[in-house]
């Protein structure tokens, strides 16, 4: 049987992945005020990567994204934990989050919350795990 060509799929995937990635980053930042957040953002990101795996092959992705996702996971958790530890410096209870509003030049009045860093850790951990699992199974003999 002929090896099917995946032209359609590949071209659509490229567009779709861009959309998904943008969207998941948007979801991640929206999380504090709208539905979304670290989990969903991360999972969305992961599903974009999954889509890449699905339509291209593992090696292609490996070459283009040469990251050990286990390390990503661990760093994600570490980031989350360390934001918590940060509060120890200020002698506040662990995981004390803080936020404030700043007037930044371009963005105008912007809220900056440490919780976002925490959420970023969450997102990294989620991305790392999801991709690790999928890649591990896919690479199995």
């Amino acid at each position: 049987m002929k090896k099917p060509n995946d032209v359609i799929l590949h071209s659509v995937t490229k567009v779709a992945v861009v959309i998904i990635l943008t969207f998941s980053i948007d979801l991640f930042f929206a999380g504090h005020h709208d539905p979304g957040g670290g989990f969903i953002g991360g999972l969305g990101f992961a599903s974009a990567l999954t889509l890449l795996f699905l339509s291209f092959n593992i090696e292609w992705v490996r070459e283009n994204i040469p990251i050990d996702f286990k390390v990503v996971t661990a760093s994600g958790v570490l980031i989350a934990v360390l934001t918590g530890l940060g509060s120890l410096i200020f002698d506040a209870p662990f995981l004390s989050q803080t936020f404030d509003y700043f007037n930044l030049p371009i963005f105008g009045k912007t809220e900056l919350a440490t919780a976002v860093i925490f959420d970023f850790g969450v997102a990294l951990a989620v991305i790392g795990t999801a991709v690790t699992i999928i890649l591990s199974i896919a690479e199995d003999r």
Binding site: P35, V126, I133
Partner: protein
């Protein structure tokens, strides 16, 4: 609605349990994931259904639905995902190594 949901949860539990009690490993995994849906719905139901608007401030709702169970479920979903994934892979590896797909045959034999 709560009554209906309770019954639905009960049904999901029944079906999931029946699947878990079956022999096929795959069915067991699927049964577990069905029960996990049941659990999530149960937590949500126990928090009260449709008692207010979306738990998003700034939507001008007079009251909000109970957000705490939602947070709990979110955590539960993710944990369940992790566990299911691991369990699936364990089953899968068992299948590869032991070569059977029948939980009844997973008994240890004496000479090991």
């Amino acid at each position: 609605m709560e009554t209906l949901m309770s019954i639905l949860v009960g049904l999901l539990f029944s079906i999931g349990t029946y699947l878990i009690l079956s022999k096929t490993l795959l069915r067991i995994v699927l049964g577990a994931s069905i029960i996990s849906h049941g659990v999530n719905l149960l937590i949500l139901t126990m928090g009260g259904l449709k008692k207010g608007g979306l738990p998003l401030l700034g939507e001008n709702n007079l009251s909000y639905t109970d957000a705490l169970p939602q947070a709990l479920i979110l955590t539960a979903i993710v944990i369940n995902f992790a566990v299911t994934a691991l369990f699936l892979v364990i089953c899968y590896r068992t299948y590869q190594v032991v070569g059977i797909d029948d939980s009844e045959q997973l008994r240890g034999n004496e000479d090991e």
